[in-house]
Symmetry: C2
Subunit: 169 residues, 2 copies
């Protein structure tokens, strides 16, 4: 073990777990992008994470209890990554990050749509979404409605809009 914690401050400890440029990107893709396998996480997001860094982050996040790995039954080579209760608990945090980002950074309109829905929905929508993630990732019973589908379709609708150009890929 390299070193102990820098301090017992909860903000610091959260930063020690998640404070880098990639960890939350991986969690974001698992959470909102429905990417559950290595190759999907590697190639299907715009930020183009390198494979060694993705491997490192997946290992670290698993050790920290923020994701879990399991074999894909019937496909011995494939592995399925899932969120855990701890990372599902990050939904409000990511919602706030999205909200802050769309107000204080040059976020693209298309990708902001989902952030806006999540922010406007507030805690009730977050809970609903978290329940849905528990279903998708932890095998909990299925909730009634799909926030996930709603986010997805809003994004696609934004993409299809004619007049607005995308500042970023």
């Amino acid at each position: 073990m390299k070193h102990a914690h820098r301090s017992g401050c909860p903000i610091n400890l959260t930063l020690e777990a998640l404070g880098d440029r990639w960890s939350l990107i991986v969690i974001r893709d698992l959470m909102f992008g429905n990417r559950r396998r290595f190759r999907e996480l590697l190639t299907r997001s715009e930020e183009r994470i390198a494979s060694n860094i993705l491997a490192d982050r997946l290992a670290r996040l698993e050790k920290a209890g923020l994701i879990s790995r399991r074999d894909d039954p019937g496909h011995k080579q494939k592995i399925i990554y899932s969120l855990t209760e701890a990372s599902i608990a990050l939904v409000p945090l990511l919602a706030h990050m999205g909200g802050w980002g769309l107000r204080h950074t040059p976020a693209s309109k298309e990708l902001s749509v989902r952030a806006k829905i999540l922010e406007d929905g507030g805690p009730p929508l977050w809970s609903e979404f978290m329940e849905e993630l528990r279903h998708l990732h932890l095998g909990a019973p299925a909730p009634a409605e799909s926030v996930f589908a709603r986010l997805q379709s809003a994004y696609e609708a934004a993409l299809a809009e004619p007049a607005t150009a995308s500042p970023n890929g």
Copy 2:
């Protein structure tokens, strides 16, 4: 300029601005620790940031519009760092980080007290605190009550408690 943004996703852009191990520590100390000068930020927090890294982060945060620098009138050598509206807008995010940290990391009891108050207070308390930060950092009119003092005294009370040992300095 080295490179453009990795993507227009608001979460990614927030991460590009704040996603490292030190930026939010600096903002945390400005926000909750009332540390407004270089030496205070350097020596008075437990995480012991190195001076070159602190200098780098202060410069980057200033360029990003998250803090501002000004000379201390009457003390030619001293400089006062302040939060901006953009970083004051991070109060809910930091509150959530603290809340997540105290539930999912081995946070020390004493340092968790403030996180707990902030979390329990919710959006109304955050707004009150933000108004207070606008007063302290932006020169806005003074609000009625001091959340800051309340956080501080709760922390000191927790420190004074006899029975609980601190897991971390």
